[in-house]
Symmetry: C2
């Protein structure tokens, strides 16, 4: 989060640059006057910022609009050829690399699978590097057209270097990932985790656009929240904010991989949902031992078909999810709560249908009434998109810096 | 929170004014150069802001410092006679009014008790007005020297008018408190609740000074959190953020006055602590039926004297408090967690002594290591001080406004 308490005019200029480009990137072509009206910035500020963005080639002039007899108004739009942005999603079982144009339209995607034993930092770095090189070769652009590479890794990320990863089979503590990547990729690098990538994707392209206070709840194997306040990503004191998955939902409850018990994750993450299924029917054919994705898919189909066990599993998961969402609403009072990640893609709508009617039992009425709750409408992999957006934000923040 | 995403240079100017005055108010006399060093603002910005604050009479020139042969540097300090700030703490059983000079030193305090049946808005407003008038008479200053009146009321506060109060015996819903007060007090009014007053007091005068991310946990009859991010009070979408007391700690647990069950408040608020005592020893002499303050006092004395039941009550309360604090650390990743309000004053240190060794079972190690946890060191009533500080902030925000 930009430090406004000790703010400088530079901080606010960067924030305004984000705001303006978020607006322009959402539309097609726009005049400076219209952009000023829509963003609340002054026309002078918009003209100034548009000038910078034209110079850095992220925007281009695209003609004039009819201004009803007045002076014709110049129109601008994002210049897709302004540069390449690369997003990388490092997960436990794969490394996904996607190349985007400056409009954040996907150009090419490369996925490399990680075998369970491929969990050493040098092995993972190897896959990131080969994925990026393969993507660049496929698109046929030289490396100097790349504005930056955003890399998401699960766990606790120190943006300046060290990374500790949470995945059960990885025992990474303070791995100097930035340095390892920089040895092989001489491109601007932006490191962070999937929680923060997902919320940045929503701020730029999803339900978070134009909102000040946003909570993106990632439901996957792990669970966690990406938070944005005042329209900007909130990081907390050590870039650790948002560990919603490791807040306690049931004191002395299910054991969690973090070492604690009763964490939200153990009831609403994929393994937690599998446990609900196992508790209800240990011999259910929907239960695919060791395969979370297949089990969640089977549950989604079962629910669709009205299978009573699937319906019960969804209801049981929703009971916990409602409390965990209410806790975020009561503490953080967001404008919008977005459910993201692969479990939300498959089960988000049925879960929300169960969650909505019981949320009022736990959330206070005033903040609840102000909260929109939705499943993410971003297609594709929001983490890859968010990681690429980190690279765009980094490029924007560096404009005009010596 | 100031909206930096759609920020203006005016927003940042106000934030810098807060930052500078917070620094000056903490010290005695200071040069512009020193203030610039300590706040990170440029000397030009500080000179500019100091000029404004001299003109509005919050600062005064107080001579020169030796600058080792260079040009003598002018010193400034807060001018206590710059104006009167009034803080009002409306609680269920009393209305406390305190008058402060511009340095936020107390000049006079008036407390009016509310009888249980005095819970109509007009009755409460009557006590606020008579308290303010009595205070002004005692200090002997005319009303036009008052910069503003900050009023804290428990519950959900819409700053522009309506107030809904949470106290068990009060059934206030959308009471137009601002209008009712304005009819009788023609002074700038700033309405908010005790959670937000307490965190603003810590930001200006306590453990929150100079910190970006702060959580003040109020332990009283009710419990809740005041949150600050980027050095500024965080309000959320509807000024409802911080309802930590109504996040769920035990699913299907103790019934809460908010209508839900298992809320944090029912385990660590004064009535919750009394319940722990009742559960452990229903005939304990420390249990003073219907008198929370006397019971908490008796527990504090009992603990001091090594009474085993008191020791067990503290341990039991701490077990819940540790989980509830860990949830804030994991979700919000603050730099500092401050325990405030009257239960914390009496039991905060023994509770923290029990909480610290078990916190690591629930909080993730990286955010936990970065969090300082302390009982508030502010004497007096931090809510009254914070309410008066709202008036100071309001005055500062209005400087230069037409």
């Amino acid at each position: 989060m930009i430090q406004i308490a000790k703010g400088t005019s530079r901080d606010i200029r960067v924030a305004n640059r984000f705001e303006l480009l978020r607006y322009i990137i959402a539309g097609a072509t726009v005049s400076r006057q219209r952009a000023a009206q829509e963003t609340g910035l002054s026309v002078a500020t918009v003209s100034n910022l548009v000038g910078e963005l034209l110079e850095s080639r992220l925007l281009k002039e695209v003609g004039f609009e009819d201004s009803r007899g007045g002076r014709p108004r110049g129109l601008v739009s994002v210049d897709p050829s302004g540069g390449i942005l690369i997003g990388v999603d490092v997960a436990e079982t794969y490394v996904r690399v996607e190349l985007f144009d400056a409009h954040l339209s996907g150009l090419a995607a490369v996925e490399e699978l990680l075998r369970p034993e491929e969990n050493r930092p040098d092995q993972v770095v190897g896959h990131v590097v080969s994925g990026v090189r393969a993507g660049l070769a496929r698109v046929g652009v030289p490396q100097d057209r790349v504005l930056g590479v955003g890399v998401s890794v699960p766990g606790q990320v120190d943006r300046d270097g060290g990374v500790s990863v949470f995945a059960p089979n990885w025992d990474w503590h303070d791995v100097p990932l930035r340095g390892l990547l920089a040895e092989q990729l001489s491109l601007p690098l932006y490191l962070d985790n999937p929680l923060r990538a997902a919320v940045v994707a929503e701020l730029w392209f999803g339900a978070g656009r134009g909102r000040d206070n946003v909570a993106v709840l990632n439901l996957g194997t792990g669970t966690g929240a990406g938070l944005a306040f005042a329209g900007s990503l909130y990081r907390g004191a050590t870039n650790s904010a948002g560990e919603w998955g490791h807040t306690t939902l049931v004191m002395d409850g299910r054991p969690c991989r973090c070492g604690s018990r009763g964490c939200v994750e153990t009831y609403v993450g994929a393994p937690g949902i599998m446990q609900h299924l196992r508790d209800l029917d240990p011999s259910s054919p929907m239960l695919r031992a060791g395969d979370q994705t297949a089990t969640i898919d089977a549950l989604a189909c079962g629910f669709e078909a009205g299978d009573p066990v699937a319906v019960k599993v969804i209801a049981e998961t929703a009971r916990y999810l409602a409390v965990a969402i209410a806790n975020v609403i009561n503490l953080v009072n967001p404008e919008v709560v977005v459910l993201s990640s692969w479990v939300a893609t498959r089960l988000g709508e049925p879960l929300l249908a169960e969650v909505r009617p019981i949320l009022g039992q736990y959330a206070l009425s005033r903040p609840l009434a102000a909260t929109e709750i939705a499943v993410s409408s971003l297609g594709g992999d929001p983490v890859v998109l968010g990681a690429a957006t980190f690279a765009l934000e980094g490029f924007l923040a560096a404009i005009g810096r010596p």
